[in-house]
């Protein structure tokens, strides 16, 4: 969360860094396990000054929720930077705790885990629509020549029959025409059946829409959820002074984790007891 600060003027750089990291790492390291200002850290032996500095910094940072020991000061007297340093460590710790308490890191984690899933689903949709388009085009490519041939053949026959009625065909030619026409007519059902088959295939290819519709809905839900989580983390991450104070205080939604909270109830019995105690 917090980035290490370049701290080049002090000997106890690494120890401070380790302390900072342990604060930022959160609850795994209970703060009372942190080394108090240790004369061994202080190369020049100014432990009284160090203690005074420690006191002033912890007064400045205020009462932490857990007993965070502010980082021991650099001995070069750069009080400002170490104050900032410990404030940042403090804020980082608080942010981590808040997020953990609210269950955000878990919820965010779940939300972001959904992203590869969303990608997969979108790929599936691309695949399905491609398949459907392909299938439809294939069917069209098969059916079209059949229709074209039907048109050509019937047109040719029609021309020949025109000649018959214009008395331009001989008896022999007429017999041939009659035979050809007979063949043509008996072939028609086969060709129209073939075309119908392709039309049915085109119809069946539309079934992708049901499947892709369902998958799209899932992706939309996923994205909305992710957006919500990110926004609320953003809001939580703002320093306390920037928080917008209630009326939203009464619009919190369901309590996710009542642990350690004295301001919420956990069941109907508690609701009833509270109301009774107030005379309602």
């Amino acid at each position: 969360m917090a980035k290490p600060i370049k701290f080049d003027e002090s000997n106890d750089n690494e120890d401070l860094q380790a302390l900072f990291d342990s604060i930022a790492a959160g609850s795994e390291v209970p703060m009372h396990a942190t080394k108090p200002p240790d004369p061994a850290i202080d190369a020049s032996g100014d432990s009284d000054d160090l203690q005074a500095l420690f006191d002033s910094v912890s007064a400045q940072v205020g009462e932490p929720t857990s007993s965070v020991a502010p980082a021991p000061a650099g001995e070069t007297g750069s009080e400002d930077s170490s104050g900032v340093f410990s404030s940042i460590g403090q804020m980082t710790r608080e942010l981590h705790d808040s997020l953990r308490d609210i269950g955000h890191n878990q919820a965010l984690g779940e939300a972001t885990r959904g992203i590869p899933d969303a990608r997969e689903r979108l790929s599936y949709i691309v695949q399905m629509t491609e398949q459907a388009a392909s299938r439809a085009l294939n069917a069209i490519e098969i059916a079209k020549p059949i229709q074209d041939a039907l048109e050509t053949d019937s047109a040719a026959l029609g021309t020949r029959w025109g000649k018959v009625f214009a008395n331009q065909l001989s008896a022999e030619e007429f017999k041939v025409l009659a035979a050809d026409t007979q063949t043509f007519l008996s072939d028609i059902p086969k060709r129209t059946r073939a075309t119908n088959e392709q039309l049915t295939d085109i119809m069946m290819a539309q079934d992708f829409q049901d499947l892709t519709g369902q998958v799209i809905k899932k992706v939309v839900d996923l994205v909305e959820n992710l957006e919500r989580q990110l926004l609320s983390v953003l809001i939580e991450a703002m320093p306390p002074e920037m928080h917008v104070e209630p009326p939203a205080g009464l619009l919190n939604g369901p309590v996710i984790n009542a642990n350690g909270r004295a301001d919420v109830v956990s069941n109907q019995t508690q609701v009833d007891d509270l109301l009774e105690s107030l005379g309602f």
Partner: protein
């Protein structure tokens, strides 16, 4: 105990699924007349149209939330007599106190059971009868 089927409910919640659940529960308990509203503003409009005997409302809703609806109902001389039962996920003591102080007739916290709903309804009707007596 008044005839359940004669009582006209207004169920207010921004989630249609929850409205459906509440309506079905009411129906099972014999309260067969119910209409719906998806937020406090729509609900207030419907109530002002008259004919309702009971309001069951969520809290967290857009446009006008449940508390605001409750307050508006209690401020309206034609509506202030209506029982308003809150059914909501809001579980802060602050919420419960605010609702009670604003004149809520009951407060059910989600998730809830059919039994709880029935208990609260019965209790509210008993109170109404007592104050009418």
């Amino acid at each position: 105990m008044p005839d359940p089927s004669k009582i006209k409910f207004l169920v207010v919640d921004d989630f249609s699924t929850m409205r459906r659940i509440v309506r079905n529960l009411l129906k099972e308990l014999g309260y067969t007349q119910a209409e719906e509203a998806e937020d406090g503003a729509v609900a207030l409009q419907k109530l002002k149209g008259g004919g309702f005997d009971f309001v069951v409302s969520d809290w967290n809703m857009p446009n006008m939330d449940g508390l605001q609806l409750l307050q508006a109902v209690r401020a309206d001389p034609t509506l202030k007599h209506l029982p308003v039962l809150m059914i909501t996920a809001e579980a802060k003591k602050e919420n419960i106190i605010a609702a009670a102080q604003s004149g809520a007739s009951g407060y059910i916290v989600k998730p809830f059971t059919a039994g709880t709903l029935n208990d609260k309804l019965v209790k509210i009707f008993e109170k109404l009868e007592q104050s009418a007596a």
